[in-house]
């Protein structure tokens, strides 16, 4: 049944008022789907990922529901969420380096983690070793301290840990951004392998790198300034995007083979609006080459083709 998010709003409390980091987001992720969440910094993509796991002290759940496999998650209630975290919904954090306790051997850390969830670590030990081998690690890493592993090894160790209890949804937040290209590819392909082997049912891969997420995702959701701009199958987003923001973003990406002397790429002029007091209407309006009068009214996020949703007045017509 997957994940259903309805009109989710999460604001950050600040002294100057609420920052509307996530402002009315509705989407769903089907079973077995790997959905990429792409956008620039400050667009709310990490806030979305965090909202599904744990709201920290500054974050306030304003409205909206999150439903996972037919069960409504109590995302605003930190304690009630405990029974879902790690078991039903799990997170791979951005910096694996800081996710591991530097004073504990990895095996010890795993045991503590499992014991805290009421799972017998000894019974699960063969499975852990099997999965470590699957991602190309020696089971001896359980006897290592995190400092003894390279960045890519730590990232893969954390991936194995996060998915040990076969969660229904895995949120992977910028898991590859700190890695080298060849390690990046290995880690990204491991994520797909986890889905194919059924370790996780569905996945949200949050990243700023559209070309990376295109490699592994079934669908891509593009966010802009706390709202959804477009969601479509990965091929459609890359080859035939409808939202002007997606179009400009895709065309500004340099690729191997493109040189400035033959084809000069252009960025998107301007910058995203501040989310403290965001403007009404379409939030991309000020930077959009297609903007017209109607953009003062907020465009709904509507389906224009099967599996393809866009929030733009010009897209449907």
């Amino acid at each position: 049944m997957g994940l259903r998010v309805e009109d989710l709003r999460v604001y950050y409390r600040t002294l100057r008022g609420p920052v509307r980091a996530l402002d009315g987001v509705s989407f769903s992720v089907a079973d077995g789907e790997i959905m990429g969440v792409a956008g620039e910094s400050g667009c709310g993509k990490s806030t979305l990922g965090k909202s599904l796991i744990r709201l920290d002290g500054r974050m306030k759940h304003v409205s909206g529901t999150v439903e996972l496999d037919g069960v409504t998650l109590p995302i605003a209630n930190d304690i009630a969420m405990r029974r879902y975290r790690f078991k039903e919904i799990s997170l791979i954090p951005q910096y694996a380096m800081s996710a591991l306790n530097p004073t504990r051997k990895i095996g010890r850390l795993v045991d503590d983690l499992l014991a805290s969830r009421g799972v017998d670590p000894v019974a699960l030990r063969p499975e852990i070793e099997r999965r470590l081998t699957l991602v190309g690690l020696d089971r001896a890493v359980l006897g290592n301290y995190p400092i003894e592993l390279s960045g890519g090894m730590k990232q893969r160790t954390v991936m194995v840990l996060s998915t040990l209890l076969d969660p229904s949804l895995l949120v992977a937040d910028e898991v590859t951004s700190a890695l080298d290209v060849s390690t990046q590819r290995a880690v990204a392909e491991t994520l797909v392998g986890f889905r194919d082997r059924g370790f996780v049912t569905s996945m949200m891969v949050i990243t700023h790198d559209i070309s990376l997420v295109y490699q592994i995702a079934d669908s891509i959701m593009v966010m802009y300034a706390g709202k959804l701009a477009e969601k479509a199958p990965a091929d459609v987003v890359v080859n035939a995007p409808l939202h002007p923001y997606t179009q400009l973003l895709i065309s500004s990406l340099p690729e191997v083979g493109v040189r400035y002397s033959s084809r000069r790429l252009t960025g998107i002029p301007g910058r995203p609006p501040a989310l403290l007091n965001p403007p009404t209407g379409c939030r991309f309006r000020d930077r959009c080459p297609l903007a017209f009068d109607r953009c003062a009214e907020e465009p709904p996020f509507v389906e224009v083709a099967p599996g393809h949703q866009v929030a733009c007045w010009k897209a449907g017509s």
Partner: protein, 269 residues
């Protein structure tokens, strides 16, 4: 203009410096005026160490780096200051370069204190505005602001403006755009392309092959401190000879082409 010949850098590592680590191993290349040379490699390939040696923030263990014929190792005092006036660096993280207590334009005024103390304030102000204009920043928008009030792209462009104030001949750009957003990234790259057209030589240090390819005339692919492949960018990217280069190219995520469409070249160890 800049010639790096047979440069090796060995670091002492371990608790008592008992072991040695060769970060850069017998690397040679040159950068001419108006030429962009990309140093491409993964972490630990020594690309930043080379950049640091060119900026003379580190000294080679052996080999020579010369700039217009003068050996960098022999530069001292006034001659070194003169070198810094012609060669400057911009680094990856624009946020940590600025002191958050001071206004961001302090980095521009410090150039005057250090290099041009005799220039009157009014003349300097015009120079600053020209330099900011050169990197397409609106002086009214960025002067007098604190670092947290500016975006990463603006901060990074201000650092490039700072380098331009010195009227430099060579810029060492070490991962200058990896911290920037996709939509502003390309603006900084295009800016570097414009500067190149004005005759500035650029040593472009990056781990991102697509960015190295967009701008550069020559590419130097590094692996564990050694040059594995070097040549005109079109050739290195169009027809890579070394298996490591092929492996790197196959790993780069590209739009319009999936990894699964092509075979992965075997990694070489």
């Amino acid at each position: 203009m800049l010639t790096v010949s047979g440069v090796t850098k060995v670091y002492r590592v371990g608790a008592f410096g008992g072991r040695s680590l060769t970060a850069v191993d017998d690397v040679s290349f040159s950068v001419g005026a108006g030429e962009v040379v990309s140093l491409i490699g993964e972490s630990g390939s020594g690309k930043s160490t080379i950049g640091r040696m060119v900026l003379r923030l580190a000294v080679p263990t052996s080999g020579r780096i010369t700039f217009d014929g003068a050996d960098l190792a022999s530069l001292k005092g006034r001659a070194l200051l003169g070198y810094r006036r012609r060669v400057q660096g911009v680094f990856q993280d624009p946020f940590s370069t600025y002191n958050p207590i001071f206004k961001a334009d302090r980095v521009l005024h410090m150039v005057r204190d250090g290099f041009f103390p005799s220039v009157p304030a009014a003349v300097w102000r015009t120079k600053v505005e020209e330099a900011l204009d050169g990197v397409r920043l609106d002086p009214g928008q960025v002067l007098g602001r604190y670092p947290h009030q500016l975006s990463g792209g603006q901060l990074q462009r201000m650092l490039i403006a700072r380098a331009l104030l010195l009227d430099i001949d060579l810029l060492v750009a070490d991962e200058v755009i990896s911290m920037l957003d996709a939509s502003t990234r390309i603006d900084v790259l295009n800016l570097l392309a414009d500067l190149k057209a004005r005759g500035l030589g650029i040593l472009f240090v990056t781990h991102d092959l697509s960015l190295g390819n967009y701008l550069s005339d020559k590419a130097v692919i590094l692996k564990r401190g050694q040059v594995v492949e070097t040549g005109p960018t079109e050739e290195v990217f169009g027809n890579p000879r070394h298996p490591y280069t092929r492996h790197l190219l196959a790993s780069v995520p590209q739009l319009h082409r999936r990894w699964s469409d092509g075979p992965l070249a075997e990694p070489v160890n």
